[in-house]
């Protein structure tokens, strides 16, 4: 009898690593970032038509990010915006709840803050900011709770639900922008008359930076040392274990998404009161999506997120600087960020798995 054998030994075999040291893991990631940066330089050289030298690219990027004290402050402001959204996502992701709706939760938070400015112009400055903050937190939380309730109740797919909620929020903003626009058809609300942060110690964006710095520490403590953070971790690891332990899984899902949405709301509030002082649909500028990657690549650790958001903002501001110097548009930075992200996403594989080239099979799994 002739039988063809299909079960040939594969060329490359994989096994899960369990014993990689921290140094090895860092080395793999550093190598990935390095290769990506080299590639970036080549890309930049290509699109600027060779006007920029290979190492000149990095110098320009550095200058774009840290070239002046104002640039440094803007750099920190951008980090704080991205980091804030990443912090918001961490609890949800730790629970394995795929909240893709940070963008919308932040926008609705921003909208709530602007609504307060528009509808309660009589408030004194400090009270104004306080009411704005409350409104933003509530709006963001509501936007987070809605998909959570349906997830808890009917197991509705949260990835798609939160994604759609983004655009519901954006349309609401478009609607309000038209209601509030300065001249009909201008689509511009203009700089808002109230609800701005004062300078902190004479520094622009000081409050933004301070708030997010505090939030980072709080988020770290909440996730690592609080009872609720522990519940989130257990639910994320195994719903069965959570039930066995007596954790009310539905309650945890809804509560955690309320927190996640609320922090997004704070991010929206900071964008209004600290950064833009106006509202439009581009106010979050896709950072809500970028934050998902920032949080994931940082393994949901708030302090690692500082590093990943630093990298993204550096690439963003640096490349934008080069592009504008060459008279090109700043979307070039998205190409660069995309390429670097591909490398970092891909390198995780080499941290988790070991590759073996073809060699005799020893054991099969149990």
């Amino acid at each position: 009898m002739k039988v063809k054998h299909t079960g040939k030994e594969p060329l490359i075999r994989l096994s899960k690593r369990t014993d990689i040291s921290i140094f090895q893991a860092i080395a793999v990631r550093a190598a990935a970032i390095l290769i990506a940066l080299l590639l970036c330089s080549l890309i930049v050289m290509a699109i600027t038509g060779g006007n920029t030298g290979f190492f000149q690219v990095y110098a320009d990027m550095f200058k774009g990010s840290f070239g002046s004290s104002r640039r440094i402050m803007m750099f920190l402001r951008d980090i704080s915006a991205l980091l804030c959204l990443g912090l918001a996502l961490a609890p949800a992701f730790r629970m394995k709840f795929w909240n893709i709706g940070a963008e919308g939760q932040a926008i609705i938070g921003a909208l709530a803050a602007v609504t307060v400015i528009k509808k309660m112009p009589f408030l004194p400055p400090a009270a104004m900011l306080a009411v704005m903050l409350c409104a933003s937190v509530i709006a963001g939380a509501v936007w987070g709770i809605i998909p959570a309730i349906f997830k808890a109740k009917y197991n509705t797919n949260e990835t798609l639900f939160t994604l759609m909620m983004n655009y519901v929020a954006m349309q609401l903003v478009r609607c309000c922008v038209i209601l509030w626009e300065r001249q009909p058809g201008s689509n511009d609300v203009g700089i808002l008359p109230a609800g701005n942060f004062p300078k902190l110690f004479g520094v622009d964006y000081g409050i933004n930076i301070l708030v997010v710095a505090v939030l980072t520490v709080v988020a770290y403590i909440y996730l690592k040392y609080s009872k609720q953070g522990y519940e989130i971790a257990v639910v994320g690891e195994s719903v069965n274990t959570a039930k066995y332990t007596g954790i009310n899984v539905k309650k945890v899902i809804i509560r955690t998404m309320a927190i996640s949405g609320a922090i997004c709301g704070i991010a929206g509030f900071l964008l209004i009161a600290g950064t833009h002082h106006t509202i439009n649909t581009g106010i979050v500028g896709g950072e809500g999506f970028t934050a998902i990657i920032v949080a994931w690549l940082a393994k949901l650790n708030p302090f690692y997120m500082l590093l990943t958001s630093f990298l993204v903002v550096f690439l963003n501001r640096g490349t934008a600087q080069i592009a504008s110097a060459c008279g090109l548009n700043s979307y070039a930075s998205n190409i660069i960020i995309g390429v670097v992200l591909f490398f970092i996403i891909g390198c995780e594989f080499f941290i988790q798995y070991k590759l073996f080239l073809r060699h005799p099979r020893k054991k099969e799994g149990v």
Partner: protein, 515 residues
């Protein structure tokens, strides 16, 4: 004259790590014959057959198909040798129809034509006596219909050798009768059929020959006509082995837990517990014996508040307050808040009892994280508890923060049992606490259970090794098909008695299932 051999196994050995699942097994499967492979849980039946079906590859030995040595590396290779196996867990795509599942992945010649395939399925069904609607979706099917689809799938692909892994475990008696008739039809057609089972009455009613495995070893093959339940049981369980497990005398017995007429059906609407009534007393170990899936898991989870029961009561006598609490319809948290000191070592250690990615300290907190005021965790106590358990139970681990997933099976179990015992329970339930453990770890667990018994805890021990149950437990409750088929004294009973009770239900309706 003997039928021609379809498959011959010669000296097959298979190891998983240090555990020998099959040791030097030689066996012949013949055409036109039904062979039963009989053995207790964990005796290596399924592993052996998985090697024929291409799921595993033997470490030593040869497999001959039709007299020639065969290399079977994948299920697809097995199909090429006309071998088909029907697993206990069906491999079917829920949203597809029976026909679509059956022809899935086939590279048939000609245009894709579901109707033509359905026609052929009908022919096969008529030939052997299956009842199936080829256009029904899998998710609309009963378990027995799904099994039918799996069997037809195998025949459709031209299998001449069929292996069925415990096919009757999921069937009602009526469905079993039907299935057996179909198997006989296939035998008439010259196919070789193997059924893996541990139900003696089925072996006697369906098979021509019986091959018996015990603890990974091949005991022998006998003609069914020369066998009786008693002779097969002896082959299957072997002579009583003395394990020298200690059994302290019971003392100060008080009723701790009493269940009355508990009935439970699972999500699919299948009755898992039927009129279960028993008591668990302080200062004794109550063993629960039974074939896997007879309702042991459901019983413990109902008591622990993880499953809703449909009728009956679960009463707990609190030794401190003297009050009686009904645990029915309460969540685990509510049960704990009542002051009920109930500990539960579940069967699924890393999927339910512990969090695999957390360290020992964090796993200790699963029970106690709510303790203490404020919003923050108290890690000090759990940490010293973790260290105490590591020290006392001699757990081998790099540290109390190493994820428990990375520990060996024995150490994982020590962490779990250690935590549950540290809660100072008045009732301790343990499901298969020594499964997969080496001898030393197993004895550690026996000793821990005995110590609990001496401290006046009511211990409930679900086990599969009858030798252990007989030596360790004071009373043994035997379950069969979700019912209690008897409660016997551990000091007086024999393995054979329990073995027969495990497969036979004596209930009021009178229709004994063994015939």
């Amino acid at each position: 004259m003997e039928n021609k051999a379809a498959i011959e196994l010669r000296g097959i050995t298979k190891r998983f790590g240090s555990v020998v699942a099959n040791e030097n097994i030689s066996l012949t499967i013949r055409k036109g014959e039904i062979l039963s492979v009989l053995g207790e849980n964990g005796s290596g039946k399924t592993t052996l057959m998985n090697m024929i079906a291409g799921i595993y590859h033997p470490d030593e030995g040869q497999i001959l198909v039709n007299g020639e040595e065969a290399a079977i590396h994948s299920p697809k290779d097995a199909y090429d040798y006309k071998i088909g196996m029907i697993h206990q867990h069906f491999k079917l795509v829920n949203v597809l129809t029976a026909t679509e599942n059956i022809i899935l992945g086939l590279k048939e010649k000609g245009r894709y034509n579901v109707e033509k395939s359905a026609e052929r399925i009908k022919q096969i069904s008529n030939a052997y006596g299956f009842e199936i609607d080829p256009h029904k979706k899998i998710y609309e099917m009963s378990v027995s219909e799904k099994q039918t689809v799996e069997i037809i799938k195998v025949i459709y692909r031209g299998a001449e050798i069929l292996i069925l892994d415990e096919p009757t475990a999921v069937l009602t008696p009526q469905e079993t009768v039907k299935l057996f008739q179909i198997l006989r039809n296939m035998k008439q057609d010259g196919k070789a059929i193997v059924i893996i089972t541990h139900k003696l009455h089925e072996v006697l009613s369906i098979s021509d020959k019986v091959a018996v495995l015990r603890k990974g070893k091949y005991i022998g093959t006998v003609e069914t006509q020369n066998a009786t339940e008693k002779s097969l049981t002896e082959m299957m369980v072997g002579k009583a082995v003395s394990l020298n497990i200690e059994r302290p005398e019971t003392k100060n017995q008080e009723v701790r837990l009493s269940l009355t007429n508990v009935n439970m059906t699972n999500k699919e609407g299948v009755a898992m517990l039927k009129n279960v009534s028993f008591t668990a007393k302080s200062g004794e170990i109550l063993g629960i014996a039974g074939i896997a899936g007879s309702g042991q898991k459901e019983l413990l989870e109902s008591i622990a508040g993880l499953r809703q029961i449909q009728s009956g009561s679960i009463l707990y006598q609190n030794p401190q307050t003297g009050k009686e609490e009904n645990l029915r319809d309460k969540t685990p948290m509510q049960i704990r808040n009542l002051g009920v000191r109930l500990s539960f070592v579940p069967e699924d250690r890393l999927g339910m009892g512990l969090v695999g990615n957390m360290g020992i300290t964090d796993n200790m907190m699963l029970r106690s994280y709510k303790k203490g005021k404020g919003a923050f965790l108290q890690r000090k106590q759990p940490k010293s508890l973790a260290e105490k358990i590591i020290r006392e139970l001699e757990i081998v681990t790099p540290g109390s923060d190493t994820p428990v997933r990375r520990l060996s099976g024995g150490n994982v179990q020590k962490v779990l049992v250690g935590r549950e015992i540290e809660a100072a329970p008045t009732v301790l339930m343990a499901a298969y606490p020594v499964r997969g453990l080496d001898i030393n770890s197993s004895y550690t667990i026996y000793n821990l259970l005995n110590k609990q018994k001496e401290n006046g805890t009511a211990v409930i021990f679900v086990g599969e090794d009858l030798d252990v149950l007989i030596e360790l437990c004071d009373r043994i409750l035997v379950m069969c098909h979700g019912q209690i088929s008897g409660i016997v004294d551990g000091r007086k009973t024999t393995k054979e008695d329990i073995g027969i009770m495990m497969t036979t239900v004596k209930n009021e309706t009178g229709n004994e299932e063994s015939k």
